[in-house]
């Protein structure tokens, strides 16, 4: 019961945050730009070979999904960064934590609320990109649901890491730390791609270490690999990283990382003074 109440109130709290509406407005603007671009690309593209045409439009959609993924990452961190630390500072948590519910229920409720909100946002943004790509350009996304699931996992992973930080640091510090960690993963991912393209094992290793430290970008790169056209997979011609594809082991590792982060957040929140 307590978890359900907290999930409901957190969902509504998140829905009232300005940052969320800014993210939705930015997302709508982004979809408008993407749709317009897709329209001109589809009507202006004079390629007789349908396979090449499909490849080009699919790549455009993947780029759109990539931008959507970045917006989702930012939104995840921004809405979740102050949920624990901010409520401790404001004293809001005192009225909640003295009610007959466990701290585990409080944090799980918050997690569920944010998870619900992020699911809606990911459907809106990435689903919007795929839909516009199909309706305007006739471009289809391979393994769309699998890719969407991986992006969702990436978002939940970042949510969990943000919650861990929120139980230990201030709102600002939490946001900076999680963004910094994702920055490391992002940079490592690109170094790994370039390393794989130029057959530089050292650079590939840097990327792998970065993914071990923070596997968020690895989840996106796997999603991009799943969603790109078979031709791009075979020819390694996508600009978004198919030279070094994160393995299934890395996805399992990310899943474990995500669960450990949630467990750590629950433990820290249970033990900390409020």
């Amino acid at each position: 019961m307590g978890t359900r109440v907290m999930a409901g109130v957190t969902f509504r709290e998140a829905a009232r945050k300005k940052v969320l509406w800014m993210a939705f407005i930015a997302g709508a603007g982004f979809l408008a730009v993407f749709g317009t671009g897709m329209h001109f690309q589809a009507t202006g593209l004079h390629v007789s070979n349908q396979a090449v045409r499909h490849q080009i439009l699919n790549t455009s959609v993947i780029l759109g999904l990539y931008a959507g993924d970045l917006l989702t990452i930012l939104m995840t961190i921004l809405i979740a960064a102050d949920t624990v630390s901010g409520e401790i500072v404001s004293g809001t948590i005192h009225a909640i934590a003295t009610k007959p519910i466990t701290r585990r229920q409080i944090l799980l409720g918050k997690w569920l609320g944010f998870m619900g909100m992020l699911t809606v946002y990911i459907f809106f943004l990435l689903g919007g990109v795929a839909l516009l790509g199909y309706v305007i350009g006739g471009a289809t996304v391979e393994h769309f649901w699998r890719g969407l699931g991986l992006v969702w996992l990436e978002s939940i992973l970042l949510l969990n890491v943000t919650l861990v930080c929120g139980t230990a640091f201030s709102t600002l510090a939490s946001g900076v730390i999680v963004l910094g960690m994702h920055g490391v993963a992002f940079l490592g991912g690109w170094i790994e791609q370039i390393g794989a393209a130029t057959h530089t094992q050292g650079a590939v290793n840097v990327g792998i270490v970065a993914s071990v430290l923070m596997p968020s970008e690895a989840l996106w790169r796997r999603a991009a690999f799943e969603m790109q056209s078979p031709l791009a997979s075979v020819l390694n011609i996508s600009p978004l990283g198919t030279f070094s594809v994160p393995s299934r082991i890395m996805i399992v590792y990310a899943l474990i990382y995500l669960l450990v982060a949630l467990g750590l957040a629950l433990r820290r929140f249970r033990l900390r003074d409020l």
């Binding site: 307590g2 109130v9 009232r16 809001t92 005192h94 009225a95 003295t98 009610k99 007959p100 003074d273």
Partner: protein
């Protein structure tokens, strides 16, 4: 008549409860007993450890030593929290909720059913004077209105034990009277009220007993009625007061201080005054003026805690 403490009639029992933050000792060794059904005032200067003590009793802060039993169970247990109400010093909650929605959320966190909440919320909002504002968003509330709403959420579950941390903070005189009336009504209902307040007048008007905390320890716990009615400060202006007489007087009274041609001291009750006067006359002291004065809670507070206790 003070009750004999036992686990059944104690609402709160702490033994050597302590909390250290790094090298800073917030609460040294708090030993305290609060009886069921009484209104207990928790008094002390700033930084004495009152808020930390309350948070430990509520399970918000884990003690580094000692133990606290609340309603017979270890502090912070979920089953105990079902019977507790708490008004934090600065009550805050999601500002986008209306007053009625806020109480509904808190009621659901208490596990109360919708029909029960439907019955309780209008009465409580009425009691704290917020019924006309029930549909107003909390963000539009003044500090006093917020405090009233915080009080309502603390009473929502008809708690056996209510912690009120500075309940009159931000309230106007009418609001303060409302708080006093609510505290009395809760006591009449049989609830225990643990009141932390800097406003000694409020404490004097509502509490049965008070505990004085200083440097993280309870230095004195006394019944308030007996305290106010009993102890008397006496100022005497006199001549021919020899050092020997003063030494003998000091054995009969407490806190004797000389001041020019006068002395001041405390006696346990007005009944002791005639004997003191007879003793001085018997020692050939020239008495010009004897002024007995009952102590206010503020006098007692300053005497126990010290004038610069919070500095």
């Amino acid at each position: 008549m003070q009750q004999a403490p036992s686990s059944t009639n104690l609402a709160i029992e702490t033994r050597m409860l302590g909390k250290t933050f790094g090298s800073k000792v917030a609460v040294r060794a708090l030993t305290l007993e609060v009886f069921r059904g009484e209104v207990f005032g928790f008094l002390g200067p700033n930084g004495a450890g009152k808020s930390t003590s309350i948070k430990m009793m509520l399970g918000l802060i884990a003690p580094t030593r000692g133990q606290a039993l609340v309603l017979g169970s270890p502090a912070g247990e979920v089953s105990v929290r079902r019977k507790i109400g708490f008004l934090p010093e600065h009550f805050r909650f999601y500002e986008w909720l209306t007053a009625e929605e806020l109480l509904r959320v808190h009621g659901r966190l208490y596990g109360m059913s919708k029909p029960k909440l439907g019955q309780s919320i209008p009465g409580l909002l009425n009691e704290v004077g917020l019924w006309p504002h029930r549909d107003k968003r909390v963000r539009d509330f003044s500090k006093g209105m917020m405090q009233r709403l915080g009080l309502a959420q603390a009473l929502l579950n008809e708690p056996d034990l209510i912690f009120l941390d500075e309940p009159t903070s931000g309230l106007d005189p009418a609001g303060r009277k409302m708080v006093r009336d609510i505290i009395k009504a809760q006591r009449d209902r049989g609830a225990t009220v643990f009141l932390n307040s800097h406003l000694l007048g409020e404490v004097e008007a509502t509490c049965d007993r008070v505990g004085f905390i200083k440097d993280g320890e309870v230095v004195e716990t006394r019944r308030l009625g007996a305290l106010i009615e009993g102890e008397v400060t006496v100022s005497i202006r006199a001549g021919n007061l020899s050092p020997e007489t003063l030494a003998m007087l000091a054995q009969r009274v407490s806190s004797l201080k000389t001041n020019g041609d006068g002395v001041t001291f405390y006696i346990p009750s007005m009944d002791a005054l005639p004997d003191i006067v007879r003793f001085l006359v018997g020692k050939s002291v020239d008495l010009y003026e004897v002024t007995p004065q009952r102590l206010s809670l503020e006098d007692i507070f300053l005497r126990i805690v010290g004038a610069d206790g919070g500095l």
